[in-house]
Each structure stands twice: as structure tokens, then as C-alpha cells.
Symmetry: C2
Subunit: 255 residues, 2 copies
């Protein structure tokens, strides 16, 4: 078996986001038998990867970069040529650039796609008329301007929640220790879903004409691709399609 | 990172059964943060693994054993100590015994659990009063008597569908090229679900007091754990619990 062009998934960030990305790679592949599906490998070792938000807030906290690089190397050994990391927060430059630099120094050949750029590029596919894109994400992702920069690079504007709304309403959807999505993903809590639907309206009021779910836990609670006519763009699905396009473009399902 | 006790999943048989097993391992783990979830690796290389039913029916057809052994070795390299193969048909002795023998000869340390035995053992947990257990599975699984043997070993009886019913109604649920679960898993077709609900009643009429979904595609169409008071035992979930019990017993969620 000489598989060298498999798709790698850096899981564990959180665990359900990893299995969700794997499933969406299958969903977005044109296949009518087992054998026509694409080669995929997942490594989900969450205990080895410290919290990304905590490290961004305070760099004396445990650093997730080295274990992420090690996981990418194991994916490469398993036969992967491309990889995705279904965690928006892990794409903040202090983590993501460091991963790329260390991978380069180690001479690996695996190509780690940028989920934020893949999602920004997918707006043209999912919401071709949209100009101002609302962002629902962790406070860490919002504050480092990840989506604002990536959307700006493709000529689009970002609309963030009001900062109190972000801290009091959105961030707990992910991190609340009782009903947040990291604590309770399958099924997600009614409270998490209620707040997300409210956040879509909050962003609509602020002028958004499409919304990116910019944290991979969020589609677990809001799987719809439209809410009251607002296009909802799932960053995990955008990454799934980018991984197929980068490795097996002929097998990408048409939209 | 010195992970050596991860749970390996041999995916691709079919692809959705692999991601379903990964998700069920997470579901069956006691955890309230990313970091508390267990280490899991999945390798899903379906193009490398020929059809199991075809090989069982005719051993001049392509043999899936060598690629399955190679996948298990890659899982071991990635840090796995135990592994599961979410494909009931691949547990027929002509495949499964050959895998175990070749793994042993290669001196690997990864422990491949037997999904059929794990599922038979789980009847005591899910349906403690049941004595006669209906089986819904591929014709290949039924004909080699996999579940009849494993249930017999724990003092239970197996109830198979009538053989015409098996060939005409059940087997196409998995293999029909238009609406079968291998062709159309997410979401599954209404026809697949309708036939499975009918098969539960067929087995009830034949005396079953619980039913094993003995093909890993089936829970995708019938996720319920009871149908009209009949306990439905999902072999994928039974395997998920057995993998946790074998590697991290203290983290197994209570039933």
C-alpha cells in the first residue's frame, strides 16, 4: 500500500470538530461506493494540545505548537500530503505561523491549508452577493482580526459583534462549563443554539449580509446553511472542500 | 509527545462507519473539556481495501487482508495500543483470523478487538433479559454464522431473517447502488430506513426479543436504541465502549 496523497485531519481541537471535518470530507466527495471515497487520516490527541485561547491570551501558558507539529508529522508518516486543522483559533498567527515555520525547518512535505483563508475564499461560492460578512467566533479569534484580514484580502468586510455582546453572549456558547459546546457537543444544549440564533440577528442588525461560523464547534448547534434567508457559512465545510480541491480536485462534489 | 495508548480506528469500511465509530468513542467517554477526551486515530483508505463480501463469496476476488494489516501497522506507528475495525463482515474468520495471524507474525503490539464478540457481550448491558437475538447484517455476515457463534458463546440464541427475506429485503439496504447505505449514507434514503423498520418486525415475528444492527452502515439509518419496545443494539457503539474499556476503563461513561 503506497498511499501518499491522503488528507490529514489534525483533530482534538475539539474532538467533535475533528470527526465533523472527516464526515464533511466524505459528504463533499463524489462517490457511490466505499472504494470511491478519498483517503483520510485523523489524529485526535486532545490531552497533548493545550488550550489555544489561553495561550493566545498569555504566552506563559502551555504552548500548543510543538504537539501540533508532531501530529502533522505523524499524519505525514501515515501517508498524508495535505492537512487541515479544524480550529479557527489555532490559526491566529502566533500559533499558525509558528507551526508553518517549524514544519518548514523539519523539511516535511505535508501542506497545511489555512482554514481562515479557505473560508474567506468560499464566500464567493456560498454567498456571491454578500459584501459585509458577520463573524461568530471565540473572543481570541475576533481580537486577533483573523477573519477581518482574510476577508479584506478578498475584498470583503467583516462585521464583529458588539464587544460586550461578544464577551457576554457569544464566547460562553463555546466555553461555558455546563451548557457550552466544548462541554456538551452531542447533542448541543438548547441554550447554545438559542444564543447562536440570536447572534445571527445581532449581526444582521449591524449590517451583515452573510455570517461565517468561525469556530468549528458552532455547526454542531447550527447545521443550517440559511437562517431566515441569511447565508450561514460553515468554516468546517469550507475547509473540507479546500482539502479535496488541493488533493483530489476531480472528486469535489459540485455545489 | 509520547502517546502510546491511543485508540485506533480502521476506517474506510465504509467511510461513514469509521467517522461514526470515532464520534461514538467521544460520546461514550466521560469528559467535560477537549483535553479530557481520549486519544483516537483513524485511517480511512477505502480505495486500498477491496470489498469484504466479494472476497468471502469468492477467494479469487481481491483480498482485503494485506491492506488491513498495513493500516493497523500505521495506526500502531501513530501511537495506538488497541484498534477496532467497524465492519462486521470483515470479522468473518477467513479475513479476521488471517489479519490476527499476520499481525502476530510481524510482531506488532497493537491489540485488535473483535467487534462481534464485543457486541455479543454488550447484550447483557443493553438487553439483560433478552435470550433470542435478531440479527440484521449482510448476507456474508449471516452465512458465516458470525453472530450465531458469538451469541452461543455467551449463552444466547441468534434469530436470522428468512433467507428469501435476507436476500430480497435486507441485503439491498446495504448494497443497492441507488438507495442503499453504501451509496447514500448522509442522509440515508427513506427506502433503507423503511426496510430496516420492517426487518425489526420480521425478526420480532420470528421470536427475537432484541435486535443487533450487525452492519456498521445500519445505525446511520436507525439511530434509535428502541423500536416499539424492542431493544436495538448498535454494534458500532458496542465496539466504541469495548475500545474505551480496553484502553482507558476509568473514562468509560456509565450507562
Amino acid at each position: 500500500m503506497t498511499e501518499q496523497n491522503a488528507i490529514g485531519v489534525v483533530g482534538g481541537l475539539g474532538p467533535y470538530a475533528g470527526s465533523d471535518l472527516v464526515t464533511k470530507i466524505f459528504d463533499e466527495t463524489r462517490a457511490t461506493s466505499d472504494q470511491e471515497h478519498l483517503p483520510v487520516a485523523l489524529i485526535s490527541f486532545p490531552a497533548h494540545v493545550p488550550d489555544r485561547s489561553a495561550y493566545i491570551a498569555d504566552q506563559s501558558a502551555p504552548n500548543p505548537v510543538l504537539p501540533l507539529v508532531e501530529i502533522l508529522r505523524r499524519l505525514e508518516q501515515a501517508g498524508c500530503s495535505v492537512a487541515g486543522m479544524p480550529c479557527n483559533t489555532a490559526h491566529s498567527p502566533i500559533i499558525f505561523e509558528d507551526i508553518l515555520e517549524r514544519l518548514g525547518r523539519l523539511g516535511g512535505s505535508i501542506h497545511l491549508l489555512n482554514m481562515i483563508e479557505a473560508t474567506a475564499a468560499s464566500v464567493a461560492e456560498y454567498a456571491p452577493d454578500a459584501k459585509r460578512i458577520g463573524i461568530i467566533a471565540t473572543t481570541a479569534t475576533i481580537e486577533c482580526g483573523l477573519y477581518a484580514d482574510a476577508l479584506g484580502a478578498v475584498g470583503l468586510g467583516a462585521v464583529n459583534p458588539d464587544s460586550n455582546y461578544q464577551d457576554d453572549i457569544v464566547n460562553p456558547v463555546i466555553f461555558d462549563s455546563e451548557w457550552g459546546l466544548k462541554a456538551m457537543s452531542n447533542p448541543p444544549s438548547a441554550e447554545a443554539r438559542r444564543r447562536l440564533l440570536d447572534a445571527v440577528e445581532h449581526l444582521r442588525d449591524r449590517g451583515a449580509d452573510a455570517v461565517i461560523l468561525g469556530c468549528t464547534e458552532l455547526p454542531l448547534a447550527v447545521p443550517e446553511n440559511r437562517i431566515r434567508d441569511m447565508p450561514i457559512i460553515d468554516s468546517t465545510r469550507s475547509l473540507a472542500r479546500a482539502l479535496i480541491r488541493a488533493s483530489h480536485p476531480e472528486r469535489l462534489r459540485r455545489r
